[in-house]
Each structure stands twice: as structure tokens, then as C-alpha cells.
Subunit: 727 residues, 2 copies
């Protein structure tokens, strides 16, 4: 666990003095470039170049060694390689330097020996109370203070301009590329930080640090692996509190991508659906790639998030109206008709052949009235069909006053209180709008991607705000503290192979408030018959042993039995099979055949990074092949589950189709909430839970677990993410 100390993190971003070990007179060398940058960008603190061979570098006085400095620097940049670099870090630690940025490579990224070197160096630094950025870092750059402790070439190629955006990346290349993309769009960037090997300071640490800069309004992250969830969650909390958009690329989504990430930054693979659930939980918006990261940032920077899914499209091209409508609908946005009053008012201002319903095709009439945008937009603004605006100007050459369109749009956007995205195919048009501070996209797909994403961020924030209230611990039937009793009272049997028997699994879940099928555990046929009589309805008879996770494949499940002979024959027949299989400690579960509409499934996976992760979705025999499952991190509210279920394919069925009544989604969701609470309480002992099927009845009829398997920590790792829900 990294040390977290806000004072030293602040020193990293805003140091009063900086030593450069390995200072060079050549501004194109790694040891020369930070000095060049800091002079250029007006760093106001003290610079201490260190180079035993020179008295001056780049017109700054130079010292032969750290120990010769007149004062202890708050920050040191270590730009010398190999053993020299390690020695320099040690010297910094001994002198009481606050933090060191280790640019030198040759550590963990090269293999085991390098990792050992890195670990030892980091341990010594920590012992002395010094923070380390890197090693193998491109450095940190703060254009707010001019403390540009980075050697990135990109700051030479694309001129920096201070602004409200922070970029933090494991990869130095990506920090530079995201900076470059932002600057291409005319967006000012204050922080550009690369953490490299993350021996100590992580992307999440720096995210917390930059979020304390009140002028930072957007924080963009590039990650190849998430090693600990806590600090980033803190950063996300800070971001929500301040209304700052926190947007992240987590690359290595696919198997091949994760493999590539492992050889790039030694990144450990994360289960991608857990990453999604984690980001959702904390209202971190996930972007697919750095380009999308920057596109989302541009709109988030220019105004409020969309409060709803309805987009009004305004264009001077009929074809663009079609393309924008397709793009919006394919991303779950809506093109709602404008109100009658709005349409009437538009009709007064537009030529007869224009369309006013939405999309609004103002046609080439824009040629004869360059003020048309400025007239039309305010008419639409108050209409409830307008949660956001997509202004699409593919054609704007001769005869069009693009500067006027841009000015009108910008002044409208400033007053509208709703997001405005422009689609401009031509670079000159895009530039005109961008110079006025309007977000511009190259095509309808990209604009709608961003509108849909920011609307999602809005909903995640709202959910989170609701959640703060909804997640108060509720009364739960059973004693939630008793997460894994020593002896399972329902069976008295010990459990082999790291899994609980079905009866024990059901018993544990029942004690934590989950509804399970009415059942009895029976030692023999007589007991089974007695149980069937007690239940008084058709039953299932299932052999039960912790050694039998795949009982249905061995024919050890008999369904819909409703007479003594059948119950008896099921037990004796299964006993023969068990004997053949060499299982001698089995008992029988006799369970009521419950009625229901749909087979669903619930599950828990205890993720090494994110802790317990809850799965809920379609169940039944083909659960893995069907793969229709939502993933949530507890704690969550019933409504969150219901919303997730609606997004699944089974959502349409649960809503009630083909004469079926709507299913009891609330009951299923409540089971998921309770399972989440159990999973959190039991995360040290329970590796996974599979409940399949959960039979969901009509609304008001509940949802009942028919079969369950609890796997304990330390069990075989067979039950990975791949076979979620499988038994």
C-alpha cells in the first residue's frame, strides 16, 4: 500500500525548489529538457541543476552533487541511469528531499532483477519519508506553476497553454498524446503527469492531488491496470463533490489487449466487467480510447451535462438530419418531436420547405439569412424535447457567414443551460466554432457518442447521490455478522473440496435474508417421503454432497414428484448412482416445486482488486452460453439492480410479454441487494457464490433460490469469472 500524504503530493505538483540530477546544457537531452521547460514556462521556485562536470547549464548555476546544495530541494528529478540513478535516489532520501521523480528506466519493466532493485530503492525512500514517482516515468508537468518536471517532446511540438484540464497516465506516451489531442482542440491543459512503473505514487494518488487544485475542472486518466480500488474511489468522491468530470481509459479490455499491457507496463489483467462496475459505482466515465477521452472532455468542459436523453438536431442539410437521427437512436438517445408552439414559432421563421418537427432542417435558407441559427436556437431552447442540442453544419462554404454562425451558437450555448455539440465536417468550420468555445465533432457518430456518454455520467452521479441515502444499512433477517458458521446446522456435515453442499449453501443464504426453496435435507428414502408429505405438493429430489457440484449431469435430480413411490424410487435410484460414483456421504434435498415465470441467476465473484462483485441476470442450464448478466459492486440499491435488469436481454421478458404478467423484478433485486450485503460481510471467507436458478414469479409473487453453491476462499480456482453462474 502506498503511503498517502497530501502534503508531499502537493509538493510534487507545486514544489518550491527542484534539483535536477544529471542536468544537461542540451535542452534536447533528458537532463536538459526539464530545465528548458521550467525556464520557458516561468517556474518561480529555485532550480538546482546537478552535474559534477559543469559550473553552469542553460545559464543556470550548477552544483557538483546533491550534498553541495545550499538548501534541501523539495523535489528532485533523477535523470541519470543505472546504479547512478539508484545512488541519487538514496542520496535524496538521506538529505530529506520530499519527493523524487525517477525518469531512469531499467527497473521492474525489465524483469525480476529490475523489480527487486526497484522494490529495495522504494523501501529505502519510504523509510526516509520520501515519495517516488516512477521509475521509468516521463515526469510531471504543471503549466499552472511552470514546474514542468518532464522531458516529453510533445511540449515542444504543441505549444502549452494553461487551462482547466489534468491528464494523468501510467504511460508517458499516452500522457503526451492526450495532451496533444487536447491542445489540437484548443483546450488548455494544466497538469500532464506520467507515473511509469508506479513503485510508489500512482495515477490515483495524483488524481487526488490535482483534484485539490480548484481550477481543475476535468481530470482524464489513462490506465492499463487497476491494482487498488481505494485511492481512485477517493479521487472519484472528490470529483463528485466538486462537480469535476473524471473520465478514464482503462486499456487492456480484451484478452489480447491485456496480454499486450502485461508486456508494456507489467500490468495485471483486470476482469473488464468488474472495471465497468467499479467505474459506474464511483461515477467515473469510461472512455474507449484516448481520442474518445478527449472528445468527452471537450463537451464536459463547455457546459452542463445533459439532464435527459432527448436531442434536438438542427442542420442546414437534410441528409445530416437523417445521419444524426440514426446516430442518436443507435446510442439510446431520443429524437422527440418539438411541441406544437415551438413548431409554430419555427414555421414563422423558416421557409415553407424547412422541417420543424425535430430534426429541424433549416435548409439552404441559411444562405440568405446568416442569422437563422441565432433566431432558431432560442425558440427551441425551452422545449422539453431539448435536453441537448446537436447542430450539424456539413456544408458551409461560399456564401455562408460561418463566423456569425459560430458567434450565435456560442452566445446561445452560454445561455442555454443545456449542452450544445456541433458537427462540422470541414476543418475551417470546426475551427471557427472551437475558437468561440463550442465543442465540435467530426461526425454525427462521435457527437452522439459523447452526448450519450455525458448523459450516462449524469445518471451515474444522480444514482450516486441517491445512493448516499439509499445505502443506509437496513434490517436484515438473520444475523448478518455470522457470515460462515463453523458447523452448518442444516446438515451437520463438513464440506469437502472448498465448496459448501447445496443444503449448506442454501442455509447460509437463507440466514442472510435470501428466499430459498422450501426444502428438507433427508438421510434416506423414509425421511424423503416424510418431507414430501410435510410439504404437501410436488417436490424435487436431489442428491446433496459438497463433492457433487455437477449433480444434474449425473442424473441426480428428479423433478415434479408427487407420490410416495416416485419419491422413494428417486432416492434409491440416486443412491445407486452415488455408489457408482464413490460418493458415500450424500443426503437428499426434498424441495417444493415452486411456481414461477423466469429462471434467473445471482452470483458473487470475489475480485482481488474490487472485492465482492455481484452478478445478476438470466439463469438456467445455459447461463454461461447465454451470457446475459449485469455486474454491480455492493453496496447498491434495489433500483440500481432493476435498472441494470432492464438493460439486459432478459429485461424484455421480465417486463411481461406474450400475455405474461410482469415479473417480480423488485424481489429479484432485493435478493441481489441482500446477496451483496452478505458478500461484503463474508468477503474474507467466501470466494464465490452461484445461485441458479432463482425462480422469479409474477409481480408480488417473489423470487426464490432453487439451487446454490458457495465456494470458500482457498478452494480450487476453477470457479473464475469465465464460468459465472455455472454449476
Amino acid at each position: 500500500m502506498p503511503i498517502r500524504n497530501d502534503a508531499t503530493l502537493k509538493q510534487l505538483l507545486d514544489p518550491a525548489s527542484i534539483a535536477i540530477v544529471g542536468a544537461s546544457d542540451n535542452p534536447d537531452k533528458i537532463g536538459g529538457r526539464p530545465i528548458h521547460y521550467m525556464r520557458r514556462h516561468g517556474y518561480a521556485g529555485r532550480l538546482f541543476p546537478i552535474n559534477p562536470q559543469r559550473a553552469e547549464v542553460q545559464d543556470e548555476r550548477c552544483w557538483p552533487a546533491l550534498k553541495d546544495l545550499p538548501a534541501t530541494p523539495e523535489l528532485a528529478i533523477v535523470a541519470v541511469a543505472g546504479e547512478q540513478g539508484v545512488r541519487a535516489v538514496d542520496e535524496c532520501a538521506e538529505l530529506g528531499v520530499g519527493a523524487a521523480i525517477v525518469i531512469s528506466a531499467g527497473f521492474a519493466e525489465t524483469g525480476t532483477a529490475g523489480r527487486a532493485l526497484q522494490d529495495a530503492m522504494t523501501a529505502r525512500a519510504r523509510a526516509a519519508g520520501m515519495r517516488i514517482v516512477g521509475p521509468n516515468s516521463q515526469g510531471l508537468a504543471n503549466f499552472g506553476t511552470g514546474a514542468v518536471a518532464s522531458f516529453s517532446t510533445m511540449f515542444l511540438e504543441v505549444a502549452p497553454a494553461d487551462g482547466p484540464v489534468a491528464v494523468i497516465s501510467q504511460s508517458g506516451g499516452m500522457s503526451a498524446m492526450v495532451y496533444g489531442l487536447l491542445r489540437q482542440r484548443g483546450i488548455g491543459v494544466r497538469h500532464v503527469h506520467a507515473t511509469g512503473n508506479e513503485a510508489d505514487v500512482t495515477v490515483a494518488d495524483l488524481a487526488c492531488a490535482v483534484l485539490r487544485d480548484p481550477e481543475v475542472r476535468i481530470v482524464l486518466l489513462y490506465l492499463e491496470s487497476l491494482r487498488e480500488a481505494g485511492v481512485l474511489a477517493e479521487a472519484a468522491a472528490l470529483a463528485r463533490e466538486r462537480g469535476v468530470a473524471l473520465i478514464a481509459v482503462k486499456a487492456g479490455r480484451s484478452e489480447a489487449g491485456a496480454r499486450a499491457a502485461a508486456s508494456h507496463t507489467g500490468a495485471l489483467a483486470n476482469e473488464d466487467r468488474a472495471v465497468d462496475a467499479y467505474f459506474e459505482q464511483h461515477a467515473i466515465l469510461r472512455a474507449r480510447d484516448p481520442q474518445e477521452l478527449v472528445r468527452h472532455a471537450e463537451l464536459a468542459l463547455r457546459g452542463p451535462l445533459p439532464r435527459g436523453p432527448r436531442v434536438v438536431v438542427v442542420s442546414n442539410s437534410g441528409a445530416s438530419c437523417v445521419l444524426a437521427s440514426d446516430a442518436a437512436l443507435e446510442r439510446g438517445l431520443e429524437i422527440a418531436p418539438l411541441g406544437a408552439a415551438t413548431q409554430a414559432e419555427l414555421a414563422r421563421r423558416l421557409p415553407g420547405f424547412a422541417t420543424t418537427v425535430n430534426p429541424v432542417d433549416i435548409t439552404a435558407a441559411l444562405l440568405s439569412n446568416n442569422g437563422l441559427f441565432g433566431e432558431v436556437l432560442p425558440v427551441i431552447a425551452p422545449d422539453p424535447a431539448a435536453d441537448s442540442f446537436l447542430i450539424d453544419i456539413p456544408v458551409a462554404g461560399r456564401g455562408y457567414d460561418v463566423a456569425a454562425f459560430a458567434a450565435d451558437t456560442a452566445s446561445f450555448a452560454a445561455r442555454a443551460g443545456k449542452p450544445v455539440a456541433v458537427v462540422a465536417w470541414q476543418e475551417a468550420v470546426a475551427t471557427a466554432f472551437r475558437e468561440r468555445g463550442v465543442a465540435v465533432y467530426a461526425d454525427e457518430q462521435q457527437a452522439c457518442d459523447t452526448l450519450a456518454a455525458l448523459y450516462r455520467l449524469q445518471r451515474l452521479r444522480e444514482r450516486r447521490a441517491r445512493g448516499a441515502r439509499a445505502w443506509e444499512p437496513a434490517a436484515v433477517p438473520g444475523d448478518a455478522s455470522e457470515v460462515m458458521p463453523e458447523v452448518m446446522p442444516a446438515t451437520g456435515r463438513h464440506y469437502g473440496a472448498g465448496t459448501l453442499s447445496e443444503a449448506d449453501s442454501l442455509a447460509v443464504l437463507a440466514r442472510h435474508g435470501l428466499a430459498v426453496a422450501e426444502h428438507a435435507l433427508c438421510a434416506d428414502a423414509d425421511a424423503a417421503v416424510a418431507a414430501w408429505r410435510r410439504i404437501g405438493a410436488p417436490v424435487a429430489v436431489k442428491a446433496c454432497s459438497a463433492r457433487l457440484p455437477h449433480k444434474s449431469e449425473h442424473g441426480l435430480v428428479a423433478l415434479r414428484l408427487d407420490d410416495e413411490a416416485a419419491v422413494r424410487e428417486a432416492v434409491t435410484g440416486q443412491a445407486r448412482t452415488l455408489a457408482r460414483l464413490g460418493v458415500h456421504d450424500a443426503a437428499w434435498i426434498v424441495a417444493r416445486m415452486h411456481d414461477g415465470l423466469h429462471e434467473c441467476a445471482l452470483g458473487v465473484r470475489n475480485d482481488p482488486v474490487f472485492g465482492p462483485v455481484i452478478l445478476v441476470g438470466a439463469g438456467g442450464k445455459y447461463v454461461e452460453a447465454i451470457d446475459d448478466v449485469a455486474v454491480l459492486l455492493p453496496p447498491f440499491h434495489r433500483d440500481d439492480v432493476a435498472a441494470k435488469l432492464r438493460g439486459l436481454r432478459i429485461g424484455a421478458l421480465l417486463a411481461g410479454v406474450r400475455g405474461d404478467p410482469p415479473a417480480d423484478i423488485d424481489a429479484l433485486a432485493e435478493q441481489a441487494v441482500r446477496l451483496g450485503r452478505y458478500a461484503q460481510a463474508a468477503q474474507d471467507s467466501v470466494a464465490s457464490v452461484d445461485i441458479n436458478p432463482v425462480l422469479v414469479g409474477a409481480r408480488g409473487q417473489g423470487a426464490v433460490a432453487l439451487d446454490a453453491l458457495v465456494e470458500l476462499v482457498g478452494a480450487s480456482p476453477a470457479s473464475g469469472w469465465a464460468d459465472q453462474g455455472a454449476k
Copy 2:
């Protein structure tokens, strides 16, 4: 149906003389611009400006009226509005002009009166043997001959250059925009044609025409509706024959998009899945939007199509390796490891910390050896893991010799015989590669979209080539010519309400070679009992009447009956229900309960544009809600169906999971083929067919239709696309 006459279509594109009615001296006026363009682009034929007010326009001699011309022009551009325009078209027709491009608007796009005007004008022109482009057309431009009969502003803004690409669009704006995007990428464009209202000449007509130009190598279409499938199919056949990539945007995919298209070009909505199936059938590659159209064109122009899904990624950035891997896998491409020999050879050339497996991270070593790309690529080229190359150079500033990379890549691409796509984030890098004729993409997503799309086009072509052999008519059990017998021999009943009864539906399908459940139609309980005895196995008893399409919702289906009392009670119980429902002409189907693994469904929709369309996919009660269905246009081969089924969600189940054997996909596919043959033969009488469920057994066990509903032409339109498979 438009007249099709290749000679006049050729005249449109390469006329020996052109009259401009409404000629203007001002090159920025609609009547002036074509003259300006034709003079600028060296049109070698005769120009006949017509303007009664002037003796000269733009230094060309001008005539007062068409009738005063010294010769009959092959082509006339009508650039005068309203009644004058109509008169001019009539005069052209009377004089024997070959074709007229009617730029004037105010016709069908304005409503009913305008449509009548347009229809009458077109009818007179046709009667005289004259073709019409438009009205409401931006015109046709041929930069090969300089015959630029267009007033598009875009040719002033982006300088034309002749090249191998043709752009044909209903929308004038889109024809210009696609032209602009192509030229931005440095691609030469010969044809830019806009058809406007398509009173006569359509996009498909012009596609056929440009495909006869041997220098055209890519044809790009923008469509908002498809009104007839035949001519475009001809164009597609020509394109396949010549190895020309035919790529199309069909906008108006979504409901809102189709609505917008209707007000833009009066386009009729097409069922989008039928459009997809039609494009697949003819190996037309569909692009999502004009930007994607152009991105696909760029790679298709630069080399061969990918022969397989395996991409090798080569980059100087580890992060890009991760992003490219993610993007490739998400599009169904593969990142296969390079062979041991290839890796060993790469290891000899690359520094120790580079990765050689694929992605190949050549690292910043590129800085010290600018020839590294040129060395590395030929080593990889023969490896079977390389169906295509993605070269990713996000970082290439100071110290990099980008010109050398571009030259090396271009010379490699010219020899490789495999597609090479470059990802360059920086415009300067992109330009360097593009100038060398290498396809360049702004990010990994776009590059992988295009690689995946072109691989799909390759497979569509291969399928089509196979198909030419596979689609020979095969022997079919039953008499396929008897598509809809007058009297259904199985029942003798007439069919009410435009649908056949279940028994009649099954009988028709059986006669066309489909396997249907063993069953008998019974008039009463005695007959039903006798049928059960004859079948000698458990049966289903179902009331049967053409007035009862929703029998299961009325409880008129009893399953798994296997004793006389149960069969008798089912018939008498259902008879009571039928009496309550007022149905007095029912009989009973007694059908064997067949065994099987999976419930699938087959269907036919008779599309007004594409003819019979075959649906195949997951069946059962929730067929619409599950919506897991593939769409094909007949004729097709069994293997085409099997490939489609693999792409469905049910594909994983049919392959065999959780201990199930693989299902008899071939039998299901064969049923689909036979249904396709029937649907083609019966398309004048059958509006739709729903077969659900089709019970599919284990491999070798067949697939059997358990229930079917044939809807006749002229029936109520209830059975639209929306409720595919619903009964």
C-alpha cells in the same frame, strides 16, 4: 420502372455537346457554375449556353433558345425554375435531346402537386425517349472528361483531381461532402453524381454506368431509400466481375432516421435488416456513414482485401499495442502470435526490451534506427499470423525520420500483397504516409473498423463465388410448382381471414420439402383417440382453425398426452372453449411429441422491395422479445445459414454446451433453404410464413416444424416485420 438504356446513360456521363438552359455570366450562379467548371476542367465537347438576354456568357457564344441551336445537344442542363423549367424539359424532349439534368427544384419534394407536375413532365420526356436526371438534382460531374454538369460549390473549395473513385448520391449535399472527404485524404475522384428526386435515373442506374468506366476502381453510394432492388443488383454483379469495391451508406436505419429521410427526399422506409441481407447477398459493403464510407474506400484503393482475420500490430508505443489489440478483438479480428522463426528473426533485429510476439512493440529504438520499420516488416510478411498489418505510430516528433518510415512502409505495402493500415494521431505524420499512397487512420478503432469491414467484403465475395455453384436448383420433395393449391387436401377447409389454418400451413410446407411433426387432423374426440393410437407415443392436441392464430393464449393446446381419457378430455375441453369463443369450424391436430434439444424458428416476410426475406433463429414463446434472428435473401446455401446461425446468440447453444451434443444445424439450415425456395416460388400469393417452434435435435436427428402459420397476400397487415415469428 425506369427505362434502362446504356447508350443514353453513357451520354449522361460523356456527352459530346451540352446545352445550359438558363446560362449565366456569373460563375457563382447556378446557371453559370457548370459553364465555369467545364471551361476550367477542359471539357472538349460543344457548349451551348441558352439565354435570350445575352449574346455571350463567360466568353462563350450564347443562344436565345434551344430551337435556335445549330445542332441537337446530347445533354441539356435545365437551370431555370418553375414553369420555365418544365417548358425547357419539354422543348428538350421535342428536339430529341438525349438526356436532361433538371437542377430546378419545386417538384415531388414539395408535396402532391409537385409530384404530379414531376410525373407528367417525366412521362412526356420518356415518351420522347429522353432520360431525366433529377429534378432537384445538384448535377453530374465527370472529371475524366471535364463534363462537370453540376453547380456544387465544393469543387471550388476543394480542388478536383481525376482518380479511380466514383461517388453517386441521392442527396446533392452528400455527394459533395463525400467528394470533399476523399479529396482531403488525397484521393482522386472522377465521378460525382447526385440524382435528386430520381424521377427517372437512379443511383443504381448511374452505378451501372460508371462501372463501365474501366478506370473506376471504387464506387461509393449514399442512399436514403431503396425503391427497386434489381438495377443495384446488376451494378453489384458488374462490380464483382471487375473486382471493384462497391460500398454504400443506406441512411435512415433507425425509425427517427427514416422519418427524417421521408421529409428530406420523400424516401420510403426500408426494413433495415432486409437492407443488410440484400447488401450481403450482392457483396455490397455497407458503411455506417459517409466518413466511414471514405475510410473503407481509402484502404480498398490501396491494395488487396484481407484474406483472413489475423492482424499483426507493429508500433513504437506500448500503449498503442494495447489499444490496437483491444480494437481488433472487439471487431472480431484476431491477434495471433507470430511463429517461432519470425520471432527469433525479429529478436535479432530489435532491442532486448522490445516484444516480438504480436503486437510487435519496436519501442523508442525507432529513434536510433530509422530503418527499423523497413527491416521488421518484411520479416513478418510471410508469417501466417499476418492477414493484414496495422502500423501504429502515435509518437513521431523530433528525432524521428517520418519520411523514411513512410517510404519504407509504402514500398513494403506495394510488395506485401496484404493490406497495410497506418494509425497516425498527428496530422503531419498522417500526411507523410498518405503522400506515399498508404491508407492512414486517426485511431485504432477506425483502422480496425475498416480492416474488419474489408475482410467481411472479402468473405461476401467468396460466398457469392461459392454461391454461383451452390445455388443450382436441387431436387425438392413434393411439387414445388404447386405453391398454393386451391383446396388444401389435408383439411378440405377454406381458410378465412387471409391466413391458412395450422394444418393447411403444415401441409403446404411439407409439400415443399420441410419436415413437419407427424400429425393428423381430426374432426372429433374419437378420431383424435384413433390418431393417438396410430402415432403410438405421447401427443399434443391442438385446436385448429384459420380463425385461431393465438391458440396457446386461449388454452387450446394440451401437451404430452398419452392415454385415451386424456386425449378425449383435451378435445372435449377445447370444444367448450371454442364454443365460448364462437369458433364452430375447428378441428383438432393430434401431433407426436417430438424430442429435440432447442426451439428455433423460421419465417418469411415478403418485402415490397426485396421480395421474400427468410428469417431463422431462436424460437419459442418469447421469439420477439428474444429477437435473436438472422435474415437472408434467397437463394442461399445451407452453409450460409449455418454461418449466420453461428453469429446469433443461440449459436453457442446449438454448438453444444453444458453436456449437450451439438444440434443438427445442417437440418435447420436445409429447412431454411427449402423455405427460401418455397417463398420465391410463392411470392405472389404468400405474404408471410411463421414456423415456430422448429424443434432441432442432436446432429443427425433432424429439425421438425411443430407449428406454422402461412399468411396470404391481401391479408391484414398485422404480421409486419415487428412481430416476426409471433403467433
